[in-house]
Amino acid sequence: MRRPDRPPRPARRFRLAPRRLVVLLPAWAWLALFVAAPALVLLGIALGEYDTGVPPFRPPLGPGGAWQGTLANFAAVATDPFYRDGFLRSLLVAFATAALCLLVGYPMALAMARAPEARRTPLLLAVLLPFWTGFLIRVGAWIGLLRDEGWLNGVLRALGVIGEPLPLLYSDLAMYVGMVHAYLPFAVLPLYAALARRDPAVEEAAADLGARPAVVFVTVTLPLSAPGAAAAFLLVFIPAAGEFVIPDLLGPPEAQLVGRMLWGEFFQNRDWPLAAALAVALLAVLILPVRLFQRLEAGR
């Protein structure tokens, strides 16, 4: 029985029904366990100091919780021109890769979105086809194509176009070819989603009001797909900024990118704190464009 003197509980706006909790809890647990906790561990290592031993660092909190950490690793990352240049070059490579993916991916996405309904799914599958092959195998295939005794040089030499093999592999060209090849689907999918959603009547209205097809594209199609393009850019830019394998296997040896530096510090120098500081710094740098994108989305 309810006591009559008790006022009814005010309805709470964000009451968590048990059923909702069941759905949300695994997601939260997953995020806490595999995103938040590793990030904290990483930050902890970054604040520690290099030391010989296993593991090869001194944690920032000593026995009894005494602070013995240092910001020296972050200072090194921020001031040492070696790391600074690596960061800048990584961002530049990521930017160029994302821009190239947009340039190549936009016409693909537009063609898919304009294709008849029945042909869209096969085209979508074709875009995803590279994922059916292992990532490393695809990079390896490029090595086979581009190296001095590779297919491309072989064909060109057999045709008599060149006498000496072209230095294709271990160049910026090879690196960008590999990067664009690997990341293109990440650009095409959000662009396609944005373009497939568009209302064809809006483009027809523009044509009706006197806009030629090229003008319709510039004044209507392009601006309306801008959020999709921003998403595509970031989905490529963010992983590309930390990419290690492709620059290492295809790129020029002098290209020191963050991914490579990280690998070197961690595995070759066994300087875990510095590697962790690099990783944290990369994360911090990449948060900026993500926030920018969220702003953009919210502003619409």
């Binding site: 009547a201 027809e204 209205a205 523009a206 044509a207 009706d208 006197g210 030629r212 309306l224």
Partner: protein
């Protein structure tokens, strides 16, 4: 010279013919309504005129010039889309100015004409808003201003009132009519709403399965429907089937009486014929008519529905047919089950072609 002339226009989509040899002529400054159910081809005709589709056969002439080879952007017609199709990323001002920019109208004149157009549809002060910040009625006016500002020779309107609330629809209809008169442009409106078509248009054309079955002023089409489809689509006329007699009358077994239309039936004796009879032309009185009466049938009131200014009664005739009868509610409603006599003037009987 006519503003628009369609000659034998045909368009197929796969196996279905959307338009099947359509002929149509629209005079300058005319408000023409194309009326038809869904799938009748009415929107297809608009899209053919605007240039979004190419006809399989036939010609479309605007002031004597063939439109078919011209791409949409080169045609001096404007279309108002059913969804309005406003540019969501542009302000109201830029939406309306879009066509003027494309035409290269100088900045000052552009500003003046956009202001004029927005004043015409009473949207002053909303220039900076985006479409998603407007109500449905306001969006409709932006779409209207956007198509009118380019001063098209012909404005195509695809269900212009369909997305509006019932309350807004009548007022907007009157405004549309006034705008059409003010601009002097030819309007071709497509609608499935017969009341809307009849209220707004100078002439209406009824489309059935890709063919124009009847064209004329609303009153004429309403009073003298040509086919069963038109009779039923416009105002739900009663249809009575019978056999032609040698003296020009029609024996109608289902009405249980002799029908004698004012106009000649134009069929040989013994031929079957269908006549249309508008519900509001039928008089209802209590009591029994003589059995051999002409244009008078006896029956029993089966159902009465009050519809505000009018009431509709369903009367089951002794011959078996059920007639809809509308009369002013002020005259009082007949009782359900009452024996009544229905009469109608000879002019109210329209002979249908099919």
């Amino acid at each position: 010279m006519s503003l628009l002339r369609a000659e034998g226009v045909a368009k197929r989509f796969g196996a279905t013919a959307a338009l099947d040899g359509l002929d149509l002529e629209i005079a300058p400054g005319e408000f023409f309504a194309l009326l038809g159910g869904s799938g009748s081809g009415k929107t297809t005709l608009l899209r053919l005129i605007a240039g979004f589709e190419t006809p399989d056969a036939g010609r479309l002439l605007l002031e004597g010039r063939d439109l078919v080879p011209l791409p949409p952007h080169a045609r001096p017609v404007a279309m108002m889309f059913q969804s309005y199709a406003l540019f969501p990323h542009l302000s109201v001002f830029d939406n309306v100015a879009y066509g003027l920019r494309r035409a290269g109208v100088p900045r000052e004149e552009r500003r003046r004409r956009v202001a004029e157009a927005l004043a015409l549809v009473r949207l002053e002060g909303l220039e900076r808003r985006r479409p998603h910040q407007l109500s449905g009625g306001q969006r409709q006016r932006v779409a209207l201003a956007r198509s009118l500002v380019v001063r098209p020779r012909l404005l195509l309107l695809d269900e212009p009132l369909a997305a509006l609330d019932a309350g807004l629809r009548e007022a907007t209809g009157f405004e549309l009519r006034a705008l059409q008169r003010a601009t002097g442009a030819g309007f071709v409106m497509v609608t499935h709403d017969q009341a809307e078509a009849m209220a707004l248009a100078d002439r209406i054309g009824v489309l059935e399965r890709g063919r124009l079955v009847q064209v004329g002023p609303p009153a004429a089409v309403y009073e003298r429907p040509a086919t069963r489809f038109v009779a039923a689509f416009l105002g739900g006329a009663n249809l009575l089937a019978g056999l032609v007699r040698a003296d020009g009358g029609v024996d109608c077994a289902e009405a249980g009486c002799l029908l004698r239309p004012a106009a000649p039936v134009g069929r040989p004796a013994g031929a079957p014929v269908t006549l249309a009879l508008r519900p509001e032309r039928v008089r209802l009185r209590s009591g029994e008519a003589p059995a051999d009466a002409v244009n008078a049938a006896r029956g029993t009131v089966a159902e009465v529905a009050f519809r505000g200014e009018l009431s509709t009664a369903l009367v089951r005739l002794d011959g078996g047919a059920t007639l809809r009868v509308s009369r002013p509610s002020a005259e009082g409603a007949p009782a359900r089950g009452a024996r009544v006599t229905l009469t109608w003037p000879a002019e109210a009987l329209a002979v249908l072609a099919d």
